[in-house]
Symmetry: C2
Subunit: 156 residues, 2 copies
């Protein structure tokens, strides 16, 4: 039963990927978004865009995990303990994933995308075209974030 | 009653703005996000970021409007008729708004932000720090989109 003030969503489709576990974090990997057949028309014109935001439901997060208020980024104890809204952790009150992907191909009700870090069968909530207004000319991030970025870049 | 496979969210807070109607589209205007008091801790460290993504619930959209599959961008008949997923229309199966904002100030449970195009009392679903991975180096958008962008830029 949905309580008062709650918001109910229905997936528009699902992720299909052969990547397992952390393999989904490989930014070069392609995966597919299978949109429900009855929504196929809603994709018309999407191939004019090179990049999309994908909103998806992190269905592996248990309801008690949604009560987490603070985390160490990527579970690393050498990182500061931070509020979940200051990180991209999956442990959040509303575990919605947000990832910018490259649109490789749109065919029928299937979007082939590059860089979607979502597991196989993840419910997709929305797909939005990327707009230049979504990108700040100059953005500031904290030092702990830059450290993680440097490490990630070196691993690539 | 939430049906099988549906997803239930609860707002983490609400938007507070003095702007009415289209006034919220003024990118220079500041508004506030009042986070629920019990989630205040989840904001710790957020002021290290200059930009945030705000996910919010477009609660003015009626349930039958969520069945819209195609629209003319901004309701303009001189624009092509396109699938809702190829536009940023509010008329979508899951009407979640996504806006990149500048974080002006974080104080207690209140975030003061610039550029949030959401009405007063809009339920907020999530707040995520902006990451450089969210910005493509080069993005392609369709001609109709560029036309609207040019018009918007000239109006500023």
């Amino acid at each position: 039963m949905a309580s008062e003030g709650s918001i109910v969503l229905t997936p528009i489709g699902f992720v299909k990927t052969e990547a397992a576990s952390n393999g989904v974090k490989d930014k070069d990997r392609t995966s597919q978004i299978i949109i429900k057949r009855e929504l196929t028309e809603a994709l018309e014109g999407i191939s004019g865009f090179s990049h999309l935001f994908v909103l998806f439901w992190l269905n592996e997060i248990a309801s008690e995990e949604r009560e987490t208020l603070k985390v160490h980024p990527r579970g690393r104890k050498d990182m500061p303990l931070l509020g979940v809204f200051a990180t991209r952790t999956k442990l959040r009150p509303n575990p919605i994933g947000l990832t910018l992907v490259e649109l490789v191909k749109a065919e029928g009700n299937v979007l082939t995308v590059r860089g979607l870090d979502a597991f196989n069968n993840t419910p997709v909530l929305d797909v939005k075209p990327f707009d230049f207004w979504d990108a700040p000319k100059k953005a500031k991030v904290p030092e702990w974030w830059r450290k993680l970025e440097r490490e990630k870049t070196h691993k690539l």
